[in-house]
């Protein structure tokens, strides 16, 4: 864009300095707590953290729920995105607006709505009882299921948006061409759509996975302390136990998991590209 590359680089300096001074440096100082031992550098804080069975449960629960939300988002997201891009331009805009609408509402309000919907006298249970599926209402609130539903609703729009933009960039005649050449819909999806939209899947997957892993409000409200996740545990360590070391360890784990998810998804996408 700039003829002289130096000018381009120079223009990034203020933003870079701003981020370094106000974000990277403080976060670095905070995270360094997790590597301090009696004699300098130490990984004991991590050993301590993972030696607790409760922490292991919380860690795997977080990983499981975030992974599940990302996978289900991708499955539902592909179907939704495919429908949206197939619509005429005017309707597509409307549908896209409907998908993005929840993102404009505070996560607190959205999550509180689930408290009402999933409650024992809420919409879901009333419907199940009225349809005769069950006599006594199910307990959905304060279970992993409730957290899963809340997170899915919270982050699925990000997956749909990423996939819609990826599909819009797909050559328009790729699918008809594949169909003419005799591919069934499953083959069209695995051999054409998936490889051509992998960038969108990587972006969407990373956003949904890291978002689900680091969300605090939804697990706190819908899961409560019975369904502790890494971020609710982090909050507890800081506010109650004043244990900044364990909190730094959890923060570091969350950062590593977010980066790993991104790298892993990119790897999967690259592997697919080489195969295709």
């Amino acid at each position: 864009m700039f003829e002289n590359r130096t000018i381009g680089l120079a223009l990034t300096v203020p933003a870079a300095l701003f981020a370094a001074a106000l974000f990277i440096l403080p976060v670095g100082i905070l995270l360094s707590e997790a590597f301090k031992g009696d004699n300098g550098f130490s990984l004991m804080a991590y050993v301590d953290f993972f030696s607790s069975p409760r922490n292991q449960t919380v860690f795997f629960r977080t990983l499981k729920l975030a992974g599940l939300v990302a996978v289900v988002s991708a499955v539902v997201g592909y179907a939704a995105a495919f429908c949206i891009v197939s619509l005429p331009a005017k309707s597509r805009g409307r549908m896209f607006g409907l998908v993005t609408l929840p993102l404009m509402i505070s996560p607190v309000a959205r999550t509180y709505a689930w408290l009402v919907i999933l409650g024992r006298t809420g919409f879901v249970n009333s419907m199940l009882v009225n349809m005769g599926i069950t006599d006594t209402p199910f307990r959905i609130l304060f279970t992993e299921t409730a957290v899963f539903i809340g997170l899915l609703q919270l982050f699925m729009p990000l997956m749909i948006i990423s996939l819609v933009s990826a599909m819009e960039n797909m050559p328009r005649d790729a699918i008809p061409a594949a169909r003419i050449l005799g591919a069934n819909w499953f083959q069209v999806f695995t051999k054409v759509i998936l490889p051509l939209t992998r960038e969108g899947l990587v972006v969407g997957g990373t956003l949904v996975f890291t978002g689900s892993m680091t969300a605090y409000i939804t697990p706190a409200i819908l899961g409560g302390s019975k369904v502790l996740m890494l971020e609710t545990l982090l909050y507890q360590r800081v506010t109650v136990a004043n244990d900044f070391v364990a909190a730094s360890v959890i923060a570091m784990i969350l950062i590593v998991m977010a980066f790993s998810a991104n790298v892993l998804l990119k790897q999967i996408a690259t592997a697919r590209r080489t195969r295709v």
Partner: protein, 341 residues
């Protein structure tokens, strides 16, 4: 002539106030709760009285204590209001100085439990609250004991406070008392709760969350602080406040003075103002804080929403601050390992 004289006097006083306001500044650290009411009922009238500037810093206890600790060498905060356990924690870190109660004209009017809650006059209580059980009187015949929370009648219809909340440990302590074990480790009541964990709908963190669960008929009973009673009593269901045979528990918030702040006189003046009968009455009538000043009198309707009166105040079974502070980590570990599994 008289009017002119009054006007001149007022003007002189105002000008004097304006000049000294620049010299005198008091920095206080308070909970973020009900700040509009505090501004109207406490801060603004005090600024008028002292002719000084009041700088109010708010936040949760952890942030505020961290700030006091970080600036210990040259204190920014002159006085703070915190829980008794936090006050003791700050005392042990050498961040506070004793309060010269001889300079507090309202000191003798305080209930006994508020006078020296953590010892050595390091803190003075300004408000306290009772914690008991709120329940649906149409669903349950009555609650006689804290152990009724874990009765088969309430299984699947009760919420308990999380151990990380202010209500958590006192409720566990009362559960322990109900089964005849008042050991500060709370091992027996935590064990008891873990055995009934599946019968408990949730371990709540905020009383506002509880009000909604009660409204949605998710729960029929839960222990709450008296300050939250107003959110329940008019929710459209028949609600009752239990008086269990083991008594009521609760908590207290205190005022503390930071060490070597150089602003002790003004801080004491502010504390005395806050503890005075008119201000404590105004805060009680606005349902902001229950009064620690025994001279405060309010109507029955107001009193119904507060922790009020000598009988209630003197019978509160509070966990001592040192037990709270020394055991907190132990409680949390036991809780996470037994109840959260």
């Amino acid at each position: 002539m008289k009017r002119l004289l009054i006007a001149t006097t007022a003007l002189t006083l105002t000008m004097g106030t304006a000049a000294s306001a620049q010299d005198k500044t008091l920095t206080i650290s308070v909970y973020s709760f009900a700040q509009d009411e505090f501004k109207e009922l406490v801060y603004d009238p005090f600024q008028e009285q002292c002719g000084c500037k009041l700088v109010v810093e708010t936040g949760n206890s952890v942030e505020r204590l961290a700030k006091i600790e970080a600036n210990a060498a040259s204190p920014v905060i002159d006085m703070a209001v915190i829980s008794t356990a936090d006050a003791l924690s700050a005392t042990r870190k050498g961040l506070l100085q004793p309060i010269d109660t001889a300079k507090l004209s309202s000191y003798d009017k305080l209930y006994e439990i508020a006078k020296d809650p953590i010892g050595d006059h390091m803190a003075v209580g300004y408000t306290f609250y009772a914690t008991s059980i709120v329940y649906r009187s149409d669903k349950i015949d009555g609650i006689e004991s804290w152990s009724d929370l874990l009765s088969p009648e309430l299984a699947g219809n009760v919420a308990l406070p999380d151990v990380t909340t202010n209500q958590g440990p006192p409720v566990l302590y009362m559960l322990g008392k109900a089964i005849g074990d008042t050991d500060p480790s709370l091992t027996a009541p935590i064990e008891l709760v873990s055995e009934h964990a599946d019968d408990i709908v949730t371990f709540y963190v905020r009383s506002s969350q509880l009000a909604q669960l009660m409204q949605q008929e998710e729960i029929w009973a839960a222990p709450i602080g008296r300050f939250a009673w107003g959110q329940f009593k008019d929710n459209g269901f028949p609600m009752a406040w239990a008086t269990p045979k083991e008594g009521q528990t609760g908590g207290m918030n205190v005022m503390v003075m930071t060490k070597d702040n150089g602003n002790e006189d003004l801080a004491l003046e502010f504390m005395d103002f806050w503890l005075s009968t008119p201000i404590q009455t105004a805060l009680a009538e606005a349902l902001v804080d229950s009064p620690a000043n025994s001279e405060v009198t309010v109507s029955d309707e107001i009193a119904d929403n507060l922790t009020y009166g000598p009988e209630t105040a003197n019978n509160l079974d509070l966990i001592p601050a040192d037990v709270m502070l020394d055991q907190r980590e132990n409680w949390l570990d036991q809780w996470n390992n037994k109840v959260m599994q």
